[in-house]
């Protein structure tokens, strides 16, 4: 047991920090931030930045070397995610985390040969086609169908809550191939080229200010070579990818940033008043938050340590993600309180506090409570898969 980074790990952290400082200067920030995008950066910048991550060797660090990966353990990946989140950098998302890992685990040799080299260079953007209007928390209820027709499957249906679909090159799409089946059986995963005829993307503005998307498939003909894993065995692929997804999202960089930002705000001199930090009630609140932030940090590196040992964390990933996201929401709420009168002000207002970011995040982070398994759904997962309670 060792709570400190090794010299090599620390050197990597510093290297990533240098990279991010260089690539996300204030001028770049001002030129490319975009509050209408979910990732808060323009689509073009997000894609360009992802290629830079690829060029720097930061994508695929943990993949096996035979797929162009760096063969580095999960501690390094967690350091990378941690720093990326702290800097609110774009590009670390499904396109470079769990989709390539699922391709490695479940893809055919041809799929690996076609997609992994492009993915490791950061050239591909993906959307995940799991959720549908009638299949959210109850994902196995999905209705999008894929019907075999010679060498093709014909896909028809609608995906909902499809993050970044408008900038995606490919979709990672769960379909029902056995119309007589229900629930977890008879599902099949496909990789769908978003330029195929019959694929359309529609827009839904969110209360957080950015635009979300839905994807419609109207008799889209997908070659059977784009099927991932075995026919009717898609649930296994979905589940295998989800544990990795939760682990990747559990990084504590965001929470560390929220802590640092709030500490800086409270330490600031104020005209006509003492710094908030002089108030013991404020400090007690900050101490409570700092303890929670510490638990999020420890949980993410605990998860990384288990993975680095070759274990396959399952419900542990859910716990770590729950801790991180619940902690982040505590910071959101406390941020409003500690900003006082300034809490509702948005960017552009005179005397706006922290560029209005706390208020934006208070709205934006609402999705933590329902995306990738909401808080309560995650608790169900922990109770059933972790503690063995009956469903």
């Amino acid at each position: 047991m060792d709570f400190k980074l090794t010299a090599e790990e620390q050197a990597f952290r510093l290297e990533v920090q240098d990279f991010l400082r260089r690539e996300l200067t204030p001028n770049i920030w001002l030129a490319h931030r975009d509050p209408t995008e979910q990732g808060m950066w323009t689509a073009d910048f997000t894609k360009a930045f992802r290629r830079k991550l690829g060029a720097a060797g930061y994508i695929g660090m943990g993949w096996p070397k035979e797929y162009g990966g760096g063969g580095r353990n999960r501690i390094y990946q967690t350091i990378l995610w941690d720093e990326m989140e702290y800097h609110r950098a774009p590009g670390i998302d499904r396109s470079v985390t769990y989709i390539p890992n699922a391709v490695i685990a479940f893809g055919s040799d041809a799929q690996k040969a076609e997609f992994l080299p492009k993915m490791v260079r950061g050239e591909l953007s993906w959307f995940v086609g799991y959720s549908e209007p009638e299949a959210g928390s109850d994902l196995a209820n999905l209705k999008t169908k894929a019907v075999e027709d010679g060498d093709y499957f014909v896909i028809t249906g609608q995906k909902a809550f499809s993050s970044d679909a408008h900038m995606a090159d490919y979709g990672w799409v769960a379909t029902r191939t056995d119309a007589t089946s229900t629930k977890h059986h008879g599902l099949t995963m496909f990789i769908v080229d978003m330029t195929l005829p019959g694929v359309t993307v529609s827009e839904y503005p969110t209360l957080a200010g950015w635009t979300h998307h839905a994807v419609h498939f109207d008799n889209v003909r997908v070659h059977k070579s784009m099927m991932v894993g075995a026919r009717d065995q898609g649930w296994k692929v979905v589940m295998g990818a989800i544990d990795y997804e939760r682990g990747a999202l559990a990084s504590a960089g965001l929470v560390n940033y929220q802590l640092d930002r709030l500490l800086a705000w409270c330490a600031q001199p104020r005209e006509g008043a003492a710094p908030l930090l002089d108030d013991p009630v404020v400090r007690d609140e900050l101490v409570r938050l700092a303890i929670e932030a510490e638990t999020a940090k420890l949980a993410s590196y605990w998860l990384a340590s288990l993975s680095a040992k070759g274990l396959r964390p399952q419900h542990e990933s859910s716990v770590a993600l729950l801790v991180k996201r619940e902690t982040s929401r505590k910071f959101d709420a406390a941020g409003l309180e500690l900003l006082g009168q300034f809490a509702p002000l948005r960017a552009g207002s005179p005397a706006v506090a922290l560029a209005g970011e706390v208020e934006v995040e208070y709205r934006d982070h609402l999705y933590f409570q329902f995306a990738a398994g909401g808080f309560d759904i995650t608790r169900n997962v922990v109770a059933t898969r972790g503690l063995g309670l009956p469903r």
Binding site: P26, D284, A299, W302, R379, L387, L389, P390
Partner: protein, 392 residues
């Protein structure tokens, strides 16, 4: 970085959990709670024979030079089994205090006999205010001939009735930290003990010193300069008590999950209901992060007071979350666990005592608050670099 147990640590933990689960029945535990000693000397001897009493001592004193993380795993396991034992009084307080600040003769006299389970020792620090700051020590120690005279009343002295000596802290000057430690035989003339009946299975005592006299060789460390050693004692106490709280939480969770799987109502086990899922997941979540904080706190010990931030975070979180876990556990059990013959009551009571020991959650948040006032950077994340300038 590696935040996980290695295979030896896992084996140690499993061994300790198995030991604690089998060494005595709940009925025997309740019986011991009614005695003055509070623990079973033969069981303590077994614990010592497992190597756990001397775990942190050097080999020359019969120890095995294990790490604090390993002792924390043992403490957690004994907490999980609710096994009454004098580990806190004898090892974590007195033994490690003597290892830290005692003379070679004092160490040689006591540590091997502590490690073998033959000597019970304790310390007497707290007084009427119940607080942990140096100025709250009002007992006086005055020089008298070739020795010292002690006057005052100590509270919350663990295992005083079975201890052969009590290491007492007293005031020698007007400055807050003018504090001295003395080793006092428990049967010294002028020393009287009175039981403090309390929840949680500990044998706690009031110790009144009325002109108690000891020789100069009773002095532990430097005369008038003992506060730093006492602060380290409290830090160790808080870290290991946090480990006990994790054991309490684990036992509460285990009982609750077992009950939820087997108790049938409305045509099936109650563990199928989401309300029960969520409660159990909450206990598990808080238990797991508390455990991580405890590992970190234990790992930080041995670095002097540098571990204060880590220890206070652990004790603050565990003192809040683990008693809460016992309350949720009772919620799921309902009436059945309200009866004394159901084992959950052991943990409900132990949580009351453990959250208070070596500083409750409020105390440790105040410690952290003061650290935050004086060293804000110590609270920043590992990223620890300047915030993007364009935010200000």
């Amino acid at each position: 970085m590696d935040i996980s147990l290695d295979s030896d640590q896992q084996m140690l933990h499993e061994t300790a959990v198995t030991f604690a689960a089998n060494v005595m029945t709940p009925a025997r535990i309740r019986e011991l709670e009614e005695t003055d000693a509070g623990f079973d000397a033969s069981v303590w001897k077994q614990i010592a024979e497992m190597g756990w009493a001397g775990a942190l001592f050097p080999e020359q004193y019969g120890g095995s030079e294990a790490s604090a993380v390993e002792l924390a795993l043992v403490v957690e396991a004994l907490g999980q089994g609710a096994i009454p034992n004098p580990l806190f009084s004898t090892v974590i307080e007195a033994g490690l205090l003597l290892l830290d600040a005692g003379s070679p003769i004092q160490r040689e006299t006591y540590l091997p006999r502590i490690a073998s389970g033959d000597a019970i020792l304790t310390t007497a620090i707290l007084e009427a205010s119940g607080g942990l700051r140096p100025q709250e020590i009002r007992t006086t120690i005055t020089k008298a001939g070739n020795g010292f005279t002690i006057n005052g009343t100590k509270l919350f002295v663990r295992d005083a009735s079975t201890a052969e000596v009590i290491i007492v802290a007293g005031r020698t000057g007007d400055e807050a930290e003018d504090v001295t430690l003395l080793i006092v035989p428990q049967n010294a003339p002028g020393l009287t003990l009175r039981r403090m009946p309390a929840s949680g299975g500990e044998s706690l005592w009031q110790a009144t010193f009325d002109n108690v006299m000891v020789d100069s060789d009773a002095l532990v460390g430097d005369d008038g300069n003992a506060w730093a050693a006492i602060a380290r004692l409290q830090l160790r106490g808080a870290a290991f008590k946090s480990a006990e709280l994790v054991g309490i939480g684990q036992a509460s969770l285990d009982l609750t999950v077992t009950y939820a799987k087997t108790r049938e109502q409305f045509g099936g086990p109650i563990g199928r209901f989401q309300g029960v899922h969520h409660h159990c997941a909450e206990i598990y979540r808080d238990l797991q992060v508390s455990r991580l904080l405890v590992w970190q706190a234990a790992a930080s010990l041995g670095e002097g007071l540098a571990g204060s931030r880590e220890v206070s975070m652990a004790k603050a979180k565990c003192s809040d979350a683990m008693p809460a876990a016992t309350r949720i556990a009772h919620q799921i059990h309902g009436a059945i666990a309200y009866y004394r013959d159901y084992p959950l009551e052991l943990y409900y009571h132990r949580a009351i005592a453990a959250q208070a020991a070596y500083g409750d959650a409020g105390h440790h948040r105040r410690v952290l608050s003061e650290l935050m006032r004086t060293d804000l950077d110590g609270f920043r994340g590992d990223n620890r670099h300047d915030l993007p300038v364009h935010y200000f």
